[in-house]
Amino acid sequence: MLAAIGADSIDDLFADVPEGVRLGRPLELPAGKPEQEVYGYLRDLAALNVSAEDEISFVGAGMYDHYVPALIDSILARSEFLTPYTPYQPEISQGGLQVMFEYQTAISELTGLPVSNASVYEGPSAVAAAGYLAKLHQPARSRFLVSRALHPHSRETLATTSVGWGTAIEEIPLADGVTDAGALADALDDDVSAVFLQYPNFLGAVEDLDALVPAARESGALVIAQCDPLALGILRPPGDFGVDVAVGEGQTLGNRLDFGGPSFGFFAAQQAHVRRMPGRIAGETADVDGRRGFVLTLQTREQHIRREKATHNICTAQALNALAGMLYLSWLGRAGLVELGELMLQRTAYARDALAAIEGVEPLHSQPVVREFAVALDADVDAVIERCAADGVNPGFPLGREYPEHGNGLLVALTEQRSKADIDRLASTLQAAVREAVPA
């Protein structure tokens, strides 16, 4: 091969690399290992983790331990879905493009909004992307009003990402576990670019969007809602309330926990915003012979064409994870999504009552909840968690670092995998732990 090139050695091919920057030594990494050794090493590392396989877990806060049906594993393992690149040559990418189209339809249905893209990275960065859309929509407006019940990671990601936009973030406080409508109304003026809400909110409460959205819209601000896509199976969709952009974390739809990623973010909007949406969008069309087909469309929004004026810098998104989401929604089906929602609604109510009956445990609020709720413990929450862990139960996410006003708060999540027996076990384990722990 070197002869064909006209070079004497591999070194010749690197002649353009100046002496001064040549490494001149091997990389200081271990030598390569055979497959079985790599497997053994990583298997041993994985064994150090306590996963939902090993304990009864009630931790949520954005990612949830649902049952992922086996058909998702088998379809995602197909080379034709796993290994191709972004569909730049549509003639040989009809599989991936049609999946995007079907997925966009499903997200549109869930959110009640007419347009959806083909995925973004995950929840919090989707919220930030929605903020960028608001910024492009009305560049002169500079205030972002953000509910304190928006996921803490979303609030922080928005703050980090927006630092160069000339916008300022103001937090709207809560009243009894939901966004304080009066405080929001007082804060609104014609300099507000967007209002950010979560539905259900981070503390599990179903926000009364009728009490919040109209005032925001009247001020001319965009309304952005981070939503739990599974809860949208039984909740009135954000589009119905006049929300402009609905985004969210898609992991709960057929994706693994994977210690936080990869998952996908969904992004849906009112028709008026379609040309400012980020990311890939698949559209239906026909070929030269009239065959139905799909292509990436409205590409002039994107970085590879619009460059510095693009609606976002995103290139690679989460196509495979969005496929998993679509498979999950097909598996649940029209009726199944509703049944799952109703099941979680009932079990969550049962769980909240069961924990509220424990001495030293009190619900943080009494708002309607769908699949997650918060309690305050009259005990050191970290000690309680350790005590529960010893009994093989992970009772929930400690709220204190993100919500210092709920120093010994615990966020408890349900999925269909947590049965009544599991909930009863949580209650008795928590009761014992609270009793034994140092008072708060």
């Binding site: 972004t86 040989i92 919090p124 379609v274 002039t300 510095e308 290139c315």
Partner: protein
Amino acid sequence: MSAEPAAPAGTRLSETAQQRDRAVTIYERSHPGRRAFVAPELDVPRREGLLPERFRRSEPARLPEVAEPEIVRHYNRLSKRNFDLDTGFYPLGSCTMKHNPKLHERVAALPGNARLHPLQHPRRAQGALRLMWELQSALAEIAGLPHVSLQPSAGSHGELAGVLLTRAYHEDRGERRTKVLTPDTAHGTNPATVTMAGFEVVKVGTDDRGGVDLDDLAAKAGDDVACLMLTNPNTLGLFDPAIEEIERIVHDAGATLYYDGANLNAVMGRTRPGDMGFDIVHFNLHKTFTQPHGGGGPGAGPIAVSERIEPFIPRPQVVRRESDDGAGPTFALDHDRPKSIGRLRGFQGNYGVFVRSYAYILSLGSDGLQEASETAVLNANYLMARLRETVGEHLPPAYDRTCMHEFVLTGGPMKNALGIRTLDLAKRLLDHGFHPPTVYFPLLVDEALLIEPTETETRETLDAFAEIVGEILAEAAGDPAAARNAPYTTPVRRLDEAGAAKRPVIRQPL
């Protein structure tokens, strides 16, 4: 995808089996009442009125109604309408379509990884945190920069992190800089990132050797410039030998130097961006480190930074702590980073991607990674030489230089002499069972064809590709219509993209 015989000049093949299989969506396969999911029994007392009526959906979302066999069959059939890397050669320049080792799926699927909640107490996630820390260390060694954050979820996300870090660095020094320089050959994500980070894009020219125009750079590198974003080798596949001078100019102006790691596959073990003087580097784990592309993600875009940028890196950071009780080190998520730019996403990043990339690094090791880069460069130069033989007259390299892991040909002569464009060549390649190279990028080259074979292709495959490209051009000399009307044998033929843009239909009406 099996290759059908080439279309005879001027005529069209009758419909192929793939084409006869018309597109039907999952919604169109639905029938009321069909289902796959079986809900668990309600085992708690049913309560009414848990949700006020006005909070409830009045109609269920119109999701598909299909049973498992239909779902499996629908998506299986759909998958067969995709070409993929496991099936054939995929020389997509700038994308590094190298083989995705199958071990990686096995380790990613281990329950200790797949079913681990991101908010599990760190004490009970030591395997994951240690894996992340070890990956960080390996990436630091490969980049030649000491501090790594795994948080960004894709290359663009890493670029955004890098420019935000630059902003924080300058602000910390009390400086307000407003501009970021990018070469005119830059990938579109670079300028898009600059705008998102609140800076103004200033383009730097490329000289006729394919490197940064140093005079233009020196003229533009003023004290209002925050950063130069560069990749080396660049998007033309050329290593810029003036990198030391570039570094001097940029650092003398007080700006940071950012490395877009999309082309890292060319240089592992040979040179390191840290040693070239870069302050911030992003990696594309879905390029260099074999995370499968998934048809458009997931990926990951971790960053490596120099000492002076370290205080600003995203939070939380995976750290290693020596324990004082002799029990061995523990790994933790450090949130206590007062100068950090903050978070760019939820939780810790795309951990499933880290598992696969780390498995790759463990498998190849020091020697293997260097060999990967050397073979990538060898394969690219070899393919460029073979194509010079078969089609050099009409499809010559844009630059008469040794390339690195990829190279650009220009289809300008082909267009003038044979009447077919780069686009037509790409579409005709589909009929021969190859994924085409990248077309019309970089923008600097007329009728560009950017070819990156990667190190995991055999010589036979490269020879076959060079031959086929020769055949297509020879065919065009006699009958340009054959390529202009291609492809013939794919599930659909050329699609009306203008119609899709004018009248977008982006969801199924139900």
